[in-house]
């Protein structure tokens, strides 16, 4: 009955991530604890804990979105961990909200990475190639050489169709939300978004959001000789994960007179109540280009306030502002800045 209740609670809202202090006893190479609602906790040790070795470590754990008595969730976590392996839960820490940021930054819509993570889907031309080849194969099945040649040609055509198809949406991006008319030195909001899997998570300082609500969230913490505090990754199949944390802009300035922030590969600007202008590339140290009328990619526009000016730019070097303590192996695919009040 309790499990059913917890399952319903986990399914009902946007799951979050907290931390738990757990005592592990060797031998242990890792464990996986399943929680109600498809959520899970994973822990890995490299090298494995030796026989009799005890370690008290902080791991990331899923946290229900609904207000739930902490003791209830703690009890469920303790039961699941004890059933999964030689682990004893000592203390839990609920998710901490991002502090010190202007509420309007947090209220902005999150980047939409779309379905399927941006890879090219099956197009009508691919289906046509498959259908035509199958029809030829079916009709000429007894002509081995002809069938082989047609099949190889079809494979080559499909390779060209998939290889030449554009990637419309990245699987991972970083968005910096800024208020340029705020107080000097006001922190920005850094939103790291990824489809299915988010690496380099900092559950103690960052806030996590998962869309759509009710997604099964898996938290995995890997301890190794190179990351003694643990490297946290989150998985949520067919969902988009966002990590929100405060970003110290370090006095970087972006004004119409001069770009003192970095090179932009592409940029757009909208005056208060006006329409969008495409600025094209904007190099570091240059004044803002005049540009020409043109809208930014559609996924950035919805739900933004019309009042006030708005700047949107894609950094030429995605890692130019990155301050990720535990970066993804390939780094963010794209980095964007969305700034109001310029």
């Amino acid at each position: 009955m309790i499990a059913l209740f917890l399952w319903a609670v986990l399914q009902s809202g946007v799951p979050r991530v907290g931390t738990a202090d757990v005592e592990f006893r060797g031998p242990c190479a890792g464990l996986r604890a399943d929680l109600p609602g498809g959520a899970s906790i994973g822990v890995g040790f490299d090298p494995p804990l030796s026989v009799g070795e005890e370690r008290r470590l902080r791991v990331a754990v899923p946290w229900p979105a609904e207000a739930l008595p902490q003791e209830v969730w703690k009890g469920e976590l303790a039961r699941s961990l004890a059933a999964a392996g030689p682990a004893r839960l000592e203390r839990v820490q609920p998710p901490t909200p991002v502090v010190g940021l202007d509420p309007t930054l947090i209220a902005r819509p999150r980047p939409d990475l779309g379905r399927g993570g941006g890879g090219p889907g099956m197009s009508w031309s691919m289906l046509f190639v498959l259908g035509a080849v199958f029809a030829i194969q079916a009709g000429r099945r007894r002509r081995a050489l002809l069938t082989t040649l047609v099949t190889l040609a079809a494979c080559a055509s499909l390779w060209l169709l998939v290889g030449l198809a554009p990637r419309e949406t990245p699987r991972e991006l970083v968005l910096y939300e800024a208020r340029l008319d705020g107080e000097t030195g006001e922190p920005w909001l850094e939103v790291s978004s990824a489809r299915d899997r988010l690496l380099g998570v900092d559950p103690q300082r960052a806030s996590i959001e998962v869309h759509p609500p009710g997604s099964a969230l898996g938290c995995r913490t890997e301890f190794s000789s190179s990351s003694a505090d643990g490297s946290v990754s989150l998985t949520a199949p067919a969902a988009t994960l966002h990590q929100l944390r405060s970003f110290d802009s370090g006095g970087r300035a972006l004004r119409r007179e001069v770009n003192a922030l970095g090179d932009f590969g592409a940029a757009w600007f909208r005056e208060s109540g006006g329409s969008w202008r495409s600025l094209g590339p904007w190099a570091f140290g240059d004044p803002m280009p005049e540009g020409s009328p043109g809208d930014p990619p559609g996924r950035w526009v919805p739900d933004l306030p019309l009042a006030g000016s708005l700047f949107l730019g894609r950094l030429a070097d995605p890692s130019a502002l990155a301050a990720r303590r535990d970066p993804a192996p390939q780094g963010p695919a794209e980095a964007w800045i969305r700034a109001s009040g310029m």
Binding site: A84, G116, M122, L130, W159, V162, R197
Partner: protein
């Protein structure tokens, strides 16, 4: 493989890709070696192309080769889409080539065994017990009784790795283990060998080209569709 069965298999293997195309299904990027589209397409081809044949048919190399080749474009497309959808952007070519070879071997064993009733029975029993039965037993133990993965009998995991369907399932889920690659390859090779040996015994029916494939000249091949002595 009969043309109707081939068309059905082709359509069924395309179903995951079509469902994704129309937004009814979304494949998540799994761990490193996972290839969900390829795994599902290969699963359908391995299950249907390797299934025991309904009726007795003399073996013809050209029929078998033409049928096996029908899987190649679908597997190739699944491979390419998995590569495009993965964070690293790498297509799972090794798994794709293995899947194509496994489909060809499965179909070869079925087509060879279809040449003779005794061979068909032996092949059917082996295929049902190993290729289909063992993964179903694994599913029953894991999902039906909710046994924790660590508590599963080791011998069941070991036996399951002989099934090509289990290999495809693992590819779709999280990438196949080395044991599954070796187990599936060994099982398919053994199945072909058993089917060929059964077919070559007196009473087997092998087409002209099939006889040429199986016989290296020491034993005479029989005519197309002509029952053996």
């Amino acid at each position: 493989m009969h043309i109707a069965a081939l068309a059905l298999t082709w359509l069924a293997s395309l179903a995951p890709l079509l469902l994704e195309r129309f937004g009814a299904l979304e494949f998540a990027a799994g761990p490193g070696g996972a290839a969900p589209r390829l795994g599902l397409c290969a699963l359908v081809w391995l299950a249907l192309a390797g299934a025991p044949r309904w009726r007795e048919t003399p073996f013809e190399v050209r029929n078998w080769w033409g049928g096996a080749l029908a899987a190649l474009p679908v597997l190739c497309l699944a491979c390419l889409l998995d590569g495009a959808g993965s964070p690293a952007g790498k297509a799972p070519w090794a798994a794709g080539i293995f899947a194509a070879v496994a489909v060809a071997l499965s179909a070869l064993a079925s087509d060879l065994a279809a040449a003779r009733p005794a061979a068909r029975r032996v092949h059917g029993a082996l295929w049902l017990a190993t290729s289909l039965g063992l993964p179903l037993l694994w599913v029953a133990v894991h999902w039906g009784t909710r046994v924790a993965p660590a508590a599963t009998p080791a011998f069941l995991d070991f036996l399951c790795s002989c099934s090509p369907l289990q290999w495809a399932f693992e590819v779709a889920r999280e990438g196949a283990s080395a044991r599954s690659w070796i187990g599936a390859a060994a099982f398919l090779t053994a199945l072909c060998a058993v089917a060929a040996a059964q077919t070559r015994t007196p009473g087997g029916r092998i087409g002209a080209a099939g006889g040429a494939l199986l016989d290296s000249g020491a034993t005479g091949s029989r005519g197309p569709g002509v029952p053996g002595p």
